[in-house]
């Protein structure tokens, strides 16, 4: 049995302006101790999915239309408030995107870390304090600073406090929602390393939400690519990077600058993500996709099985489709600038033809 299983989850927000379809029938599983990456542009529904796992969505406006989130055999969406409270923090915990706003400004950080332990069954205040000091040591913050308030810490230290808070109760699943986005580039790697090593030490499974494919390549075993509330491609990191199947995933790789290729221009995906209030009828990516045809516009593609746990939601998911996107004029920039025709994802795994990829 998987640790977490999301089945056909559909979430929408009922706003005054209209119904926002944030998550549209996603399925994914996370095994015990596994690192799973959830990748997508901003607005793809990643955070909404994570909040649904903790049942923390504000309702109204959020409405979980259908689906199940099975954690250790029980549906989180059907749990009583009390049971839910016991699971939050102790079984499943979350690192929020912005450490600046996710710490309470009027409570000491020691108090806040202790809270994660204190309110769960069978823990005394003394236990909580011991655990707090232990966690502070693990994230390399001096113990005497536990009496300080969040405004006395730098951004990177605050994120370390948040990590200590999330892992204090030794949860089985950690939801890390863009844990490095709000941080300075120089400490992003440091924070990621810290999360990974603590996660491995405690055998915690992790759902890592990010828009950074590089981070996924470094940290995760399996990943899913999300677009307009749907999972368009899911598989192991190798499958996604080596044999990229979905045009959107390819587009993502193409919009990343590479150090070891001489490129004058990046090739971003044309257009914008569709308005979640007015999604296309067929494939959600069809309006931006260079391979879109009649069938893509009229009919939603099924999640195709490409073998060995690699799935892709595309009518053209067959191997061998061209990898590059034409620019506005229809020129295929990639060929003009003499780029190699190999899969761009390879560079990330160090398998490309570039100078680093031997």
């Amino acid at each position: 049995m998987s640790l977490l299983e999301i089945k056909n989850l559909e979430i929408r927000f009922n706003t005054d302006a209209g119904v926002v379809h944030a998550v549209n029938g996603i399925n994914l599983t996370i095994e015990e101790g596994e690192s799973f990456g959830l990748v997508g542009e901003t607005g793809a529904g990643k955070t909404t999915t994570a909040l649904a796992i903790l049942n923390l969505l504000q309702s109204p406006p959020a409405e979980i239309v259908s689906g199940e989130i099975i954690y250790k055999g029980q549906d989180i969406l059907k749990m009583s408030k009390n049971k839910l409270r016991e699971i939050r923090g102790e079984e499943i915990s979350m690192i929020f995107q912005d450490p600046m706003t996710s710490l309470n400004p009027v409570m000491t950080i020691g108090e806040q870390i202790m809270e994660a332990v204190k309110y769960h069954s069978g823990k005394s205040a003394a236990d909580a304090q011991l655990r707090m000091l232990e966690m502070l040591e693990k994230v390399r913050i001096p113990a005497e600073r536990s009496y300080d308030y969040p405004h006395q810490f730098s951004g990177g230290m605050k994120q370390r406090v948040v990590i200590a808070e999330a892992l204090a109760a030794n949860p089985a699943l950690l939801l890390a929602d863009e844990p490095t986005t709000a941080l300075d580039v120089t400490i992003q790697a440091q924070v990621l390393d810290m999360i990974s090593s603590l996660q491995k030490e405690n055998k915690t499974a992790m759902l890592l939400i990010t828009h950074d494919l590089g981070v996924v390549a470094e940290t995760c075993k399996r990943a899913a690519i999300m677009y307009a509330g749907e999972i368009v491609e899911i598989g192991t990191v190798e499958q996604i990077f080596d044999s990229t199947a979905h045009p959107y995933t390819k587009g993502l790789f193409n919009s990343i600058p590479s150090l070891d290729k001489k490129t004058d221009r990046l090739m971003p995906i044309r257009g914008l993500m569709p308005d979640p209030m007015d999604l296309p009828k067929g494939c959600k990516f069809a309006p931006r996709c260079p391979y879109a045809d009649e069938s893509c516009i009229n009919e939603c593609p099924p999640l195709k099985d490409l073998g060995e746990g690699h799935y892709c939601k595309c009518h053209h998911a067959d191997k061998g489709a061209p990898l590059y996107f034409p620019d506005e004029k229809g020129n295929e920039l990639a060929y003009e600038h003499g780029l190699p025709v190999s899969n761009p994802g390879n560079d990330f795994l160090g398998k490309g033809d570039g100078p680093n990829g031997k």
């Binding site: 923390l56 939050r88 915990s93 706003t101 309470n104 400004p105 409570m107 809270e115 308030y149």
Partner: protein, 327 residues
């Protein structure tokens, strides 16, 4: 911190001087001189001039205001009432307890009721609790104070005969004035609490607390209320100042021998020196309440506390620099 308090106390001095100058100037240019009232209906111009000279009101503006300040600072005297021939300070001192009792109890009562109504409204947003709390506070805010006083008097004193109509005669006499003074502050506090809590409860750190499995009661009372408290404290502090000035209407209607009644009667009798004393005391109380409110901010919010400490440091640095320059 102590340096901050000293600095704030020093800053009160210009405020109080300003209040005295404004009230004195308004009175100085008043059309009816106190002497006209004192000399009686059939007084001749000479009688009035003699009275004026006796009260020292024939002196130039600057001399009068100067001597007022001189007496205030060096003799601690606020002058002698024109009408009652008593020191203003002792008149105020005998009346102060009534006003303070009503003011403090009304402010505390309105703070407690207002905060509870506000929290109920915010936590159970858009429920029946919210509507009741909102309706109650709009009613409280919309009622003019004099009407509230008369209405309460009519219902509880005249018809039900539960409470005395006027004057001070045992603890029962305080109930109606306290309710009348506290009603509109309840409304203000409740509205402010509700909106402040609603703002805080949407913050990321509240969601983070819930994600840690903190019980809902702790989320509301510890995480939310403490963060929402700053605007609430401001309103509660202001309400206390308001209840001092509001006492003019309330004490006049309920005939309570407090500061408000003294102020009202001194104005109608042109006993300007008494009016001035009363206004000065009111201004002083409002200043002290403001200071107390600001100090409470530091208790609630560690960031403000750190700021206050820095204020103290900058004074220290400046005085060191000054000392250095002098040497």
């Amino acid at each position: 911190m102590i340096k901050y308090v000293i600095k704030r106390i020093l800053m009160m001095i210009p405020v109080l001087i300003g209040v005295v100058i404004i009230v004195f100037t308004i009175n100085y240019f008043s059309e009816v001189s106190p002497a006209v009232i004192l000399a009686g209906a059939n007084a001749t111009a000479e009688d009035i001039a003699a009275k004026n000279a006796e009260l020292g009101l024939d002196r130039p503006y600057l001399v009068q205001i100067g001597s007022y300040f001189y007496n205030l600072i060096f003799h601690g005297s606020m002058g002698t009432s024109y009408i009652y021939k008593q020191p203003v300070i002792s008149m105020i001192a005998t009346r102060m307890p009534y006003t303070l009792t009503i003011g403090i109890i009304a402010a505390a009562f309105s703070a407690v009721v207002g905060i509870v109504l506000g929290i109920l409204g915010a936590v159970k947003q858009n429920s029946i609790f919210d509507y009741i709390s909102t309706t109650l506070s709009i009613i409280c805010a919309a009622l003019p104070p004099f009407l509230v006083c008369l209405g309460l008097m009519l219902v509880f004193s005249v018809h039900l005969k539960w409470l005395p109509i006027q004057g001070i005669n045992g603890w029962k006499s305080y109930i109606l004035p306290i309710i009348a003074t506290g009603l509109s502050p309840i409304a203000m506090t409740a509205r402010m609490t509700r909106s402040s809590i609603l703002e805080v409860i949407r913050q990321d750190y509240i969601r983070a607390a819930r994600a840690k499995g903190v019980p809902e009661g702790v989320v509301v009372w510890k995480h939310t209320l403490k963060n929402a408290l700053i605007p609430i404290l401001t309103v509660v502090g202001m309400n206390f100042g308001l209840s001092m000035t509001g006492s003019v209407i309330c004490e006049t209607i309920f005939n309570i021998p407090g500061l408000g009644l003294l102020m009202a009667s001194s104005i109608s009798q042109r006993d300007f020196i008494t009016t001035q004393g009363c206004v000065l005391v009111c201004a002083f109380i409002v200043c002290v309440m403001n200071l107390l409110t600001d100090l409470c901010y530091a208790l609630v919010d560690p960031r403000i506390k750190a700021q206050y400490k820095n204020t103290g440091k900058s004074i220290k640095k400046r005085s060191i620099q000054k000392g250095g320059a002098a040497a």
